[in-house]
Symmetry: C2
Subunit: 323 residues, 2 copies
Amino acid sequence: MSDVAIGIDVGGTKALAVAVGADGQVLGELRSGTPHDRDADPGSRAAEVIADQVLELSRRQGLDARQVPVGIGLPGMMRRDGRLAFAPNLQSASGSDLGALLRERLDSTSVVVENDANCAALAEHQWGAGLGIDDFVMVTLGTGIGGGVIADGKLVRGRNGFAGEIGHMVVDAHGAPCRCGGHGCWERYASGGGLARLTVEAARAGRLPILVERVGDTERVRGEDVTAAAAEGLDEAVAVVDEMGWWLATGLANLVAILDTGHFVVGGGLSEVADLVLPVARRYLVELVEGYADRAFITVVSSTFGVRSGAMGAALVALGTRS
Amino acid sequence: MSDVAIGIDVGGTKALAVAVGADGQVLGELRSGTPHDRDADPGSRAAEVIADQVLELSRRQGLDARQVPVGIGLPGMMRRDGRLAFAPNLQSASGSDLGALLRERLDSTSVVVENDANCAALAEHQWGAGLGIDDFVMVTLGTGIGGGVIADGKLVRGRNGFAGEIGHMVVDAHGAPCRCGGHGCWERYASGGGLARLTVEAARAGRLPILVERVGDTERVRGEDVTAAAAEGLDEAVAVVDEMGWWLATGLANLVAILDTGHFVVGGGLSEVADLVLPVARRYLVELVEGYADRAFITVVSSTFGVRSGAMGAALVALGTRS
């Protein structure tokens, strides 16, 4: 196994690159904006930015960019052949084979691609909050909800490699429309985007009078206003966080029913929100899980690596291909 | 591996026992009523009935009941230690260790227990509609919905051994109450019990005028009336079957999102209903699955062994322990 790999988590707004040792230590880090030029060939601008990150990190770490294993975590459904099939948050790269573009640009043979939440699950399983736990689900809360399912110690990939799209599990079949084309998807309720929606709904329904007065407009209360006020104990804001926590628990309970999951690792960009919401979700799980009392205690914990877990997992996948 | 095993599927109303060869051939079969005496010690009456079945089938097949491997499929959450933890349809045996009771009664060492839908999944994987397919979900439609998840060629058991309780995945969070204590569970919409509920709702809402006139009472239209009339092409009945098919597809689409399932095997006691509903569900899957066009074709097929798959799978589990 190579000693060091570079992992890059390409999100909807930022690309985070890390150099990681085989022991999980982060040796260097770099952030860039994610390009969204839709005029260029699919993926070509993204490949350019990522290649620059690899070259710069390699230079800093004294690595040969043509030799270092590179892993890329992407926000969308990755085919087993490496193509990005469905990526609402990275449409400029949809349909492209970023791995091939990178291999060409870097003159490298060791570039692998993987779904970002799968990467996060693998990193937490190898080094973090899922260490030694053979059955758990990684839940990444951001604008939407991503996921990675570890069963019997292995990542579940499914037929096409698309497993773990847990944010598009329908929990309210006649509910809010989702950007995927469906209705009532879990991420419309229990993600950052979901909190924003619940907030606007509550404001319109007159359930956030103090916050509406503070910002001066029913339509302008944001999820961040709610979490800040809830952290200070404002009842009307706590009620909205409670609602989000109930929805989060509803989806987790579904995963428990299907997979008998005993452990959840919650990561993604919303760590302040998670601090408020996870205790609520744990409380509701007790009533929402079928046969809760007959099961071993279900743990719901924050990820060890937070926003870095995707990039670290991408590096881990790259390290693995060299083992 | 032993040549023959006896498998028994203990349902809410009937216990079906089969003698099965290692090649999957059913050599003999026997049905008894399931006892529900709640006065007796938990499981003791069920153990008596099952033991009688084993003795009678053994006698007919010329087997030694103390030697033949016996597998029991039970309708509830089976702990990994063999105890039946949560069984709404077999409450008289809840909390009991039927395997131990049977071993004692038969003076046998080879009695194993397993969840009934997991048994069905294993039988279809070994000999039937899931043969050679490493990632599929078994869906058993009866009064409720049971399930067995095969990932990467193996049954997913989860933390406590309770995986596959797919009927209690919530698809309508503020929906109909379920006997599990929850609301909006999938089986309240897409099972035999779900069809009965959708039928009464439709009758009350005036959407089944012809059927209501036939049976003479809004409250007395049954699911069977709807399926019989739908099979004859009566529009108002076809509409209710369509609704059930949409709900079935909604749950299947959730499993696709989470597991990237490419194949579903539908079994259980409702084969006439399944014949009508599966084509509808297949049609709705196309619009309900995220990124449908980017996936390999998703197949939804009827089980090969129908009501026998649970008992056959229980026999298979018993055969496996002797391998």
